[in-house]
Structure formats: C-alpha cells, structure tokens
Symmetry: C2
C-alpha cells in the first residue's frame, strides 16, 4: 500500500534526460487528464484530490506541488478544455467558400464526431458547464467559448441566407440561438442526435434546397 505501487505508471528515476521544464508541463497535463477521468466517473460531487493523484500515479503532495489548491486544478482544467475546443473547432482560416448547406452539415458532423471520438471531452465539458453556474472563473472561459461558437454559426447562417439556401424569415441570430440551444440540450439525450439534426436542418434550410439535395444524396461527410 505504500508509494512504490504507483511508481511504474510514470517515468523512472534513472531515465535519460528530459528537461525539467518539459517534465513539469507533462505532469500538469497528466494531472489534468487524470482530473478529467475522475470527473467523468464521479462528477464534481465525487472529485477528490486523492483520487486524481492516484489516477495520475503520484502522491497528493505532488499534485499540490503543481496545483496548490483544488480550485486551481479545476481552473487549469477549464483553461485546458477551452484550448482543446478552440483548436478542434478551429474557426481559423475561414473555410467560407463552402456552400451553406455543407457548412451546416459540417457543424453537425463536428458535433457527432465529438460524441463518437471525443466523448470524454464532451462529458467533461458538460460537468464544467454545470459548475460554471457557481464558479465565475469557469463561467468566463465557457462564455467566451460559447460566444465564439455563436458568432461562427451566425456568420454561417448569414452567408447561407445571402446565398439563398436558408429560409430568409429566420434571422441568423435566431438560427444560431436555436442551434446552440438544441445542441446543448442534445448533450443530455445524445440518442436524439440524428432526428434533431434533421429537424434543425428542416427548420433552417429552404424546402426546395433540401428536396433537390435529397435526390443526389451520396455525399462523403468527413474532413480531417
């Protein structure tokens, strides 16, 4: 039950050089990763520093060496998650010259991809969203992320509307609100993904466009 049991998880003492700086960053990342694992299993209600340390294979004191308090660990997690979502979402160089419908579907595909391949990230995000109600620091991070997402969607909808693909009576702001809200709600019942996506598409896209798109339906759906 003593410490040595956990030793094999990490790097061994005599191991060749890795600069300390890098080690420190690795450790932090490793601790945050462990935090996510524990968080998914137990939620914030059952998040214990001891569990996180054990999950990471280090002593509690080591955890406190990198994150002096539990709150700092949580905020570190929030920041990390913000980065991950931003880079995986990557508005980056505007892939604007896509047809509006394809971009919308890309958005849906992104969501499905998150659920299928990056579920862990989504589950942790859900926990953070819930906690953000009582934690201004987390709220700041998430609000900025959400605002960014909404802006992106609005621009998508605006372009598609000018293009004549989306219903003109639905304003971009309205459409973006509907999209974000529905997708947040989908976090709670992901089995409705497909059906809700279809409904959202119908709500936003002109019927003619959908029909004519239905005929030539064979589109490959992913870009990496």
């Amino acid at each position: 039950m003593k410490a040595r049991t956990t030793a094999q998880a990490g790097k061994e003492r005599g191991r060749p050089k890795r600069s300390l700086r890098t080690t420190a960053l690795d450790r932090r990342a490793q601790l945050i990763e462990a935090t996510m694992t524990v968080l998914i299993e137990h939620g914030f209600e059952g998040l214990r520093t001891r569990r996180v340390a054990e999950q990471a294979g280090v002593n509690i004191a080591t955890l406190h060496y990198y994150f002096s308090t539990k709150e700092k660990l949580i905020h570190g997690l929030a920041d990390y998650l913000g980065e991950r979502f931003r880079t995986l979402h990557a508005p980056g160089p505007p892939r604007a010259r896509n047809p509006g419908l394809a971009r919308l579907r890309q958005e849906f595909a992104d969501a499905a991809f998150y659920w299928e391949k990056n579920r862990k990230l989504l589950l942790v995000m859900q926990e953070l969203i819930h906690r953000s109600r009582r934690c201004p620091e987390i709220d700041r991070v998430l609000q900025s992320l959400l605002a960014e997402w909404r802006r992106e969607l609005e621009s998508l909808l605006r372009d598609g509307r000018e293009e004549g693909i989306f219903r003109p009576e639905v304003s971009p702001a309205e459409g973006a609100a509907l999209l974000t809200t529905a997708m947040m709600g989908l976090l709670g019942s992901p089995d409705l993904f497909d059906i809700v996506f279809r409904a959202l598409e119908r709500a936003l896209v002109k019927p003619e466009v959908l029909e004519q798109n239905e005929e030539k339906k064979d589109g490959g759906s992913d870009h990496s």
Copy 2:
C-alpha cells in the same frame, strides 16, 4: 421501529388526530424544501446533511430520523419533484379542443411560467437531471417524466398536423424531439427563451398560419 407499526390502519377513529401523522409529513416536506434550498445554493457538490438540517431548523439526528441516509433524502426529493411537475403539468382532462397553435403556445407559456414563478423547481430539476447520469433511482423518475412530456407533445403535434396547422413534413416524433431538446438546452441559457420559442414556432408551424395569425394578433380568447 417495531413491526407492530404495520397494524395502524385505524384511520376513522373518532379522534381528530392531526398531530403526529401530520407532523411527520410536514417535517418530511420541510426537510425536502430545505434540501432544495441548499441544493440550489451549493449544488450536490456542496450538499451537506448538516446544512439541510440547519436550513430546516432541526438537529441532524432529526433529519436522519426521517431520512435514514443522505441518499434516501435525495430520492425523496426526486419523488417529490416528480409529483410537483406532474401536477403542475397536469395533462389531466384533455384540453384537446384547442387549436394546435394555441396549445403549442400554451406549452411555451408553461415553460416561461416555470421560469418566472417557479424557478426554484426548475433549478432543482436541473440539478437532478445532472445527477441522474450517475443515479439510476433518479434517472428512473426523470425518464418517466420526460417520456410523459414527450408523449404529450407528440399528441399535440399530431393533432395540429391533422388540423393542417403544422408543417406536414415534420413528423410528431421529430417535432417532439426538437422541442424537448431545445427546452432542455434553454435551461442553460434562459435569456434565449423568446428568440428560441419564435424559432421553434417557425420550425413547426406552417408559414401561412403564422402570417395570418400575425395580422389579428390581439384576438385573445378563443372558443372553437
């Protein structure tokens, strides 16, 4: 704690026995009310039996007298909330002979009413929804509630479609999924209530119906 207690069926004794039985029920209700208060302020992460007891103005031991464990208290809360939502939602005597659009708007009005006048209930519900992921007992209660709600919405949408008010291309199941999902999402950003409701209306109702309804937008009471 004896087995003897099972014998007490004598309800129609001449005595006006308001005290003990009533007291016990009151205490339980009071403890559950206190639980809601603490839960809203601190979430499950900060839900402590001591805090609940203090909020209710009783000793911890008294709390444990009525709810032997914390879990039982939480399940009691879940059951109570289920009842509250069912009675306030009250599918009851089918108010069916309303025009579909009015019924849909009534659904929105219900949601808005919850938010304005019964926010506490909604906030606690949100906490329970979140916890239901890791608690089968709570999940059962909420799933049945959700299923009921969805059925109600589907019937509403089916009737309205037959009536020729809703878009025929949106199936009732699809519409209900969109509605429930969006409304769950709205719990997280209630400031979008109005705009999302408008979007949902547009997504479900035939454009003509909306337009013609827009003109005479002050004819309040409706009898068919």
